[in-house]
C-alpha cells in the first residue's frame, strides 16, 4: 500500500450517506418486524387456543414465516440500514452505488421476504431451522449477500486495513462469513441425509447467530457506544481479542444443538468445549462494552445508549446460557424444551433486536430533517424490556419444568398440561412487546421534521467540513510496518481458515464417520420410501411437524426409557433433508411406526383433542373431506409416511442389532444396540400378560381427573363410549355402562392396550394412576347380574359350543382355535373376565361388532337362541379368581378379582 500524505488521507474521508436507503431499509425492517411478530403471536396462541386458528395457515408454516421474518426481514433490513450509515463513516468512503442499493433493497424485500413468506405459507419450504425459505429463495439470498458485499466492502478495501476499527472488522466478517455459511446451511442438508445433514444444519443454526446476527449486532454496539458517550471504547485490544475469539469459536459451536444425538461424540465434544470457551470470550466482549459505558448507568438518558446497554446485558445472559446449555448434564435436562425457545428469543429479540434498534435510532436521528420523539421511544424501551424479560423468564421456567417431567416416566401429556399457564403468559407477553415495537415504529414515523436539507447538500456540507477539519492523522497511519499490513492479510486468510476448519471438523469429519458407520452396521438392503410415503414426507416437512416432534431418540437414559433404543446414524440414511428436530412439544416420532392404529392417527390429524383431550396439536382438516373417516390422499400419504418412522430398524431387529454388536466397540453405538427394547413407546400395544396388580384407589376425584384427561376423548366423560372421537373409530370405544371387567383383565387392557383397536397401552401411567382409572371404569358399569333360568343357560351352552367356541374358546376365555387367525386381529372377548350387559350382547349378536371379526348371527340363530346364548355368556363371568402375574418390576403378584 502506497504511503499517502496526511492531506491526501483527509481528502479521502468522504462519508456520503445514502439517506434514502437508510430510510427505506429502516421502514422495511419495522414493517417486516411487525409482520413477523404477528406470525409469532399466532404461533404462540396455538398453545393457548389450539382450535381457534383454523382460518390461518398451519402452525408450522407460520413458525417458518416467523423465524425467517425476524432474521432476514427485521434484522437483515436493520443491519443493512445501519451499514448504509456506518460503512461510509468507518471507511471514509461512500458505498459503491445508490443504484446497486436500490437493487439490493428490491431484492431483499421483494425477491426474498415477500416471495419467501408467500411460499412457506403456501407450503413450499424446507424443514431446516433458520433455513426455512425454499431453495429458489435461498439462491436470491445468496445473490443479495453478494450484492451487499459489493456495496459495503470496497470502501474498506480502498481505505486499507490499517487502524481498522472493530466495527469494520465485524461488518467485513459478517458479510464474508455469511456468504460462506448460508449456502452450506441451506443447501448441504438437502444433499446429505440424516445425522450428517444435521451436523451441517447445526453449523448453520449457530453460524446464522454467530456469524451474521452477532457480528452485525456487535458492530452496531461498538459503533454507537463511543458515538453516544463521546469517549473511545475501553480497549480496542480487548475488542479485537473478542472479535477473533468469536470468529474462531462460534463456527465450532454448531453441533451443540445435537448433543446426545447420533452425530459422533468427538464432534459433539468439540462443540461443547468451544461453547465453554466462547462463554469466556463473550465475558471479555461484554466487559469491554460495559466499561466503555461506565459513568452512564444501566439505564442511560441517551436512548441509543439505553438500548445498547440493555442489548449488552441480554448478550451476556444469552451467551452464558448458551455455554451452560452445552453442558451435557444440563442439556439432557433442558434440550428440546421451552428453555431453548426462551434462549433463542433472548438472542434474537433481546440482544440482536435491541442492538438493531440502537443502531436505527442512532442513524435515524442523523437523517436530514429528522428529530426523534423521545417520550414515545422511552415508552417503547420500557415496554420492550419488560415484555422480553417476562417472556424469556416464563419460557425458561417452563423449560425447566418440562425437562424435569421428561426425566421421569410421567405421561408426555403431563408436560403439555403443566406448560399451559406458562404458554398463556408467553402469549400475554406479546402485548407489551407488540406495543413496544409499534410505538417505536410510530415514534420514528412521527419524528418531527426539522428544516429540511436535501441530500446533495449533505455531501457539499461534508466536503466543506473536511477541508475545515484539516488532516486526519489517525485515519491512516503513514509508515505502517509492512509486517503489520501482512498481518491483516494473514488474519483475513486465517479467518476464512476458521470457517473451513469448523466445516471440516464438525461437518465433513462426522459425515465420513457416519458413512463408515452406516457401511458397517446398516442392513445390506434398504427400504426406500414408496411414492405415497415420499409424498407424505413432503407434507410432514411443509407443515413443520419436526418443530414439535423430533425424530431422534437421544442417547440419554430418560429417552431410552421413554422411547426405546437410541437412534443410530444409519437409521436416517435415506432422510434428505433430515428432520431430527430440536424441539419436543409432542413426543418423539423416531419409532412411530406400529405404535398407533391408522384410525387413531387419522382422528388425531383431523381432530387432535378428540383422542388426546389436552393436546395442543393443530388440526389439519384440509387433509380430509369433511370427516376423519374421509381422509383425502394427502392424509393417507402422511399416514403412510408416519408408518415408515423406525421401520428399517424394526425390520432389522433383533438379528440386525446382534450382528452389529459383533462389529463395533463404539460405546455410543453399543448403548443403542444393548437397549432392552427397540420401541418403548408407552402406548404401543403388547401381548396380554405381565400387567401390574391394581389395588383400590384412595381418591375417586383423582381417577375422574385422569379419566377426563386421558380417556374421555374416546369413551366420553360418562364412560358411555360416546367421546368426540368415537364416531370415527372402529371398533367403537367401549361403553363402560354395558361392560363389567374383572380387575385383572382391566389391568391387562390398561397395561398392554388392545391390539387391533385404538385402545393404546398406558404404560406411562403409574400403578396408582392405573388403579384410579380402573376404579372409575368399574363405577360406570350398570351390567345386570341377574342369572337366566337353567333351561336357558343349557340351550345357550349348546348354541355357544356350536357357533361361538371356535373363536371365544370352549370355556369362554377368548382363546378358541380360530382366535389367532381372525381376519381382523382383535382378540375375541374373554367372557370369564368380562361380562356384557344383556342388551349389549344381544346387539352384538344381531348386528355384529363393526371393526372386528364378530359378524351378525341373525341368519343362523333365532331370537330365542341368541337370548339363551346371552344368558350363558353372562353365567361364564367369574368375578373372583386368582392369577399369578408380574408387576412393573417383574416380580410375581397374586391377583384376586373383585366382586
Amino acid at each position: 500500500m502506497a504511503k499517502q500524505s496526511p492531506d491526501e488521507s483527509a481528502l479521502e474521508f468522504n462519508p456520503q450517506i445514502e439517506s434514502l436507503l437508510v430510510r427505506a431499509h429502516s421502514l422495511a425492517a419495522f414493517t417486516t418486524l411487525l409482520l413477523a411478530v404477528c406470525f409469532g403471536i399466532l404461533v404462540s396462541l396455538q398453545f393457548v387456543f389450539p382450535d381457534a386458528l383454523g382460518a390461518f395457515p398451519s402452525w408450522g408454516r407460520m413458525r417458518y414465516a416467523h423465524t425467517q421474518g425476524i432474521m432476514l426481514g427485521w434484522l437483515g433490513n436493520a443491519f443493512i440500514a445501519f451499514m448504509y450509515h456506518a460503512v461510509p463513516v468507518l471507511s471514509g468512503r461512500p458505498v459503491t452505488s445508490r443504484t446497486l442499493g436500490i437493487v439490493l433493497f428490491a431484492l431483499w424485500n421483494f425477491a426474498v421476504m415477500i416471495p419467501g413468506w408467500i411460499l412457506v405459507l403456501s407450503g413450499y419450504s424446507q424443514p431446516l431451522e433458520w433455513a426455512e425459505f425454499p431453495l429458489p429463495v435461498d439462491v436470491v439470498v445468496v445473490v443479495a449477500f453478494i450484492l451487499a458485499a459489493v456495496q459495503f466492502l470496497p470502501g474498506f478495501f480502498k481505505r486499507g486495513f490499517e487502524n481498522l476499527y472493530v466495527s469494520s472488522w465485524y461488518i467485513i466478517g459478517a458479510l464474508v462469513f455469511t456468504l460462506l455459511s448460508f449456502p452450506m446451511g441451506n443447501i448441504v442438508p438437502e444433499l446429505v441425509p440424516g445425522a450428517a445433514g444435521a451436523a451441517f444444519s447445526g453449523l448453520w443454526i449457530h453460524d446464522a447467530v454467530g456469524l451474521f446476527v452477532t457480528p452485525m449486532a456487535l458492530a452496531i454496539l461498538y459503533y454507537v457506544v463511543p458515538a453516544n458517550t463521546g469517549k473511545p471504547i475501553y480497549s480496542h485490544f480487548l475488542s479485537m481479542l473478542g472479535f477473533w475469539g468469536l470468529f474462531f469459536l462460534y463456527p465450532l459451536n454448531g453441533i451443540h444443538h445435537y448433543i446426545y444425538s447420533a452425530i459422533p461424540m468427538a464432534a459433539q465434544l468439540t462443540a461443547i468445549v468451544a461453547s465453554f470457551l466462547l462463554g469466556v470470550v463473550v465475558i471479555i466482549v461484554v466487559s469491554n462494552l460495559m466499561l466503555s459505558q461506565r459513568g452512564f448507568g444501566l439505564i442511560p438518558k441517551n436512548l441509543v445508549l439505553r438500548f445498547a446497554s440493555m442489548s449488552v446485558v441480554f448478550y451476556l445472559v444469552v451467551s452464558l446460557q448458551g455455554s451452560w446449555q452445552a453442558n451435557m448434564a444440563f442439556s439432557s435436562l433442558v434440550h428440546f424444551s421451552d428453555y431453548i425457545i426462551g434462549h433463542s428469543h433472548l438472542a434474537m429479540l433481546g440482544f440482536a433486536t435491541f442492538a438493531g434498534i440502537a443502531g436505527i435510532i442512532h442513524v435515524w436521528q442523523r437523517l436530514p430533517g429528522f428529530s426523534l420523539n423521545h417520550k414515545i421511544l422511552d415508552w417503547s424501551y420500557y415496554l420492550l424490556t419488560f415484555g422480553i424479560t417476562l417472556m424469556v423468564l416464563d419460557l425458561t421456567l417452563a423449560g425447566l419444568l418440562q425437562g424435569e417431567l421428561w426425566l421421569d416416566t410421567t405421561p408426555w401429556i403431563e408436560s403439555v398440561r403443566a406448560s399451559a399457564p406458562y404458554w398463556a403468559i408467553r402469549s400475554l407477553s406479546a402485548i407489551p412487546i407488540t406495543a413496544g415495537f409499534s410505538l417505536l415504529f410510530y415514534g420514528l414515523l412521527v419524528s418531527k421534521t426539522r428544516t429540511a436539507t436535501s441530500e446533495p447538500t449533505d455531501a457539499i456540507m461534508r466536503s466543506e467540513q473536511h477541508s475545515k477539519n484539516g488532516n486526519m492523522s489517525s485515519f491512516r497511519t503513514p509508515g505502517l510496518p509492512s509486517a503489520m499490513r501482512m498481518s491483516y492479510a494473514a488474519a483475513f486468510v486465517g479467518g476464512v481458515g476458521f470457517f473451513v476448519l469448523s466445516v471440516s471438523m464438525l461437518g465433513v469429519m462426522p459425515l465420513q464417520s457416519l458413512i463408515d458407520e452406516t457401511e458397517l452396521l446398516a442392513p445390506a438392503a434398504s427400504l426406500a420410501l414408496s411414492p405415497a410415503e415420499a409424498r407424505g414426507r413432503v407434507i410432514y416437512a411443509r407443515e413443520g411437524c419436526s418443530y414439535c416432534h423430533t425424530q431422534q431418540v437421544r442417547f440419554t437414559p430418560a429417552d431410552v426409557q421413554r422411547f426405546g433404543a437410541p437412534t443410530l446414524g444409519w437409521e436416517g440414511r435415506l432422510d434428505t433433508p433430515h428432520m431430527l428436530g430440536t424441539r419436543r412439544i409432542g413426543p418423539d416420532l423416531a419409532r412411530a411406526a406400529g405404535t398407533r392404529t391408522s384410525q387413531w392417527h387419522l382422528v388425531h390429524l383431523y381432530a387432535p383433542r378428540a383422542v388426546v383431550p389436552q393436546s395442543v396439536m393443530p388440526a389439519y382438516p384440509e387433509l380430509f373431506d369433511g370427516s376423519a373417516d374421509k381422509p383425502n390422499r394427502q392424509a393417507l400419504d402422511l399416514l403412510a409416511y408416519i408408518e415408515t418412522l423406525g421401520r428399517e430398524r424394526e425390520l432389522a431387529w433383533p438379528e440386525g442389532d446382534e450382528r452389529a454388536r459383533s462389529l463395533t466397540d463404539d460405546e455410543q453405538v453399543l448403548m443403542s444396540l444393548n437397549a432392552e427394547v427397540l420401541n418403548a413407546h408407552p402406548a404401543r400395544t403388547r401381548p396380554r400378560g405381565s400387567a401390574p396388580t391394581l389395588a383400590d384407589s384412595a381418591s375417586k376425584v383423582f381417577g375422574e381427573q385422569l379419566f377426563l384427561a386421558n380417556c374421555s376423548g374416546c369413551h366420553g366423560a360418562q364412560g358411555r363410549g360416546d367421546g368426540p372421537a368415537a364416531e370415527w373409530l372402529q371398533p367403537a370405544p367401549v361403553n363402560f355402562m354395558e361392560h363389567r371387567y374383572r380387575r385383572d383383565l382391566l389391568a391387562d387392557i390398561l397395561w398392554n392396550g388392545v391390539h387391533g383397536t385404538s385402545m393404546p397401552a398406558w404404560r406411562d401411567l403409574s400403578v396408582a394412576q392405573l388403579s384410579a382409572l380402573a376404579d372409575v371404569v368399574d363405577s360406570f358399569s350398570q351390567v345386570d347380574t341377574a342369572a337366566g333360568s337353567a333351561a336357558q343357560i343349557s340351550t345357550g351352552q349348546q348354541v355357544y359350543s356350536t357357533h361361538c367356541a371356535e373363536c371365544h374358546g370352549d370355556n369362554g376365555d377368548g382363546d378358541g382355535f380360530a382366535a389367532e387367525n381372525l381376519p381382523i386381529p382383535i382378540m375375541p372377548t374373554d367372557f370369564i373376565r368380562e361380562r356384557l350387559s344383556k342388551e349389549a350382547a344381544m346387539r352384538a349378536l344381531r348386528e355384529g361388532v363393526s371393526g372386528t371379526s364378530m359378524a351378525p348371527w341373525t341368519d343362523r340363530l333365532s331370537e330365542q337362541e341368541m337370548s339363551a346364548a346371552v344368558q350363558y355368556l353372562s353365567s361364564l363371568y367369574q368375578a373372583g379368581g386368582t392369577l399369578v402375574q408380574t408387576d412393573k418390576s417383574g416380580s410375581a403378584q397374586e391377583i384376586v378379582g373383585d366382586d
Partner: protein, 86 residues
C-alpha cells in the same frame, strides 16, 4: 484430541497477544489506535451533520454526543496510549 487443540491454541494465542500488549508499548499503541481514529471520524461526520442542522432545535435530551466527541476525541487521541506506555 481436537478439543484439546482448540483449548490450547485459543489460550496460547490469547496469552501471546496479551503478553505482547503488556510488554510492547508500540504494539499497544498500534492496537488501541483505531478507537481514537474512529472517534475522530465520528467527530468529523457529526460536525458536518451539525453544520447541516445549524440553527435547528435539538430535542435530544440525553448526553450531547457531538460536543463530548469534539472535546475528547482530538485530545484523547494517542494520549491515553502514551499514558499506558509509561
Amino acid at each position: 484430541m481436537i478439543s484439546k487443540l482448540i483449548v490450547f491454541s485459543t489460550l496460547f494465542l490469547a496469552v501471546l497477544f496479551t503478553a505482547l500488549y503488556i510488554i510492547r508499548p508500540k504494539f499497544r499503541t498500534r492496537v488501541e489506535q483505531p478507537k481514537y481514529a474512529f472517534l475522530q471520524q465520528l467527530s468529523m461526520y457529526d460536525k458536518s451533520i451539525s453544520a447541516e442542522q445549524h440553527g435547528d432545535d435539538n430535542e435530544y435530551e440525553g448526553e450531547s454526543h457531538t460536543e463530548t466527541a469534539d472535546k475528547d476525541s482530538s485530545k484523547d487521541c494517542n494520549q491515553s496510549d502514551s499514558k499506558k506506555s509509561r
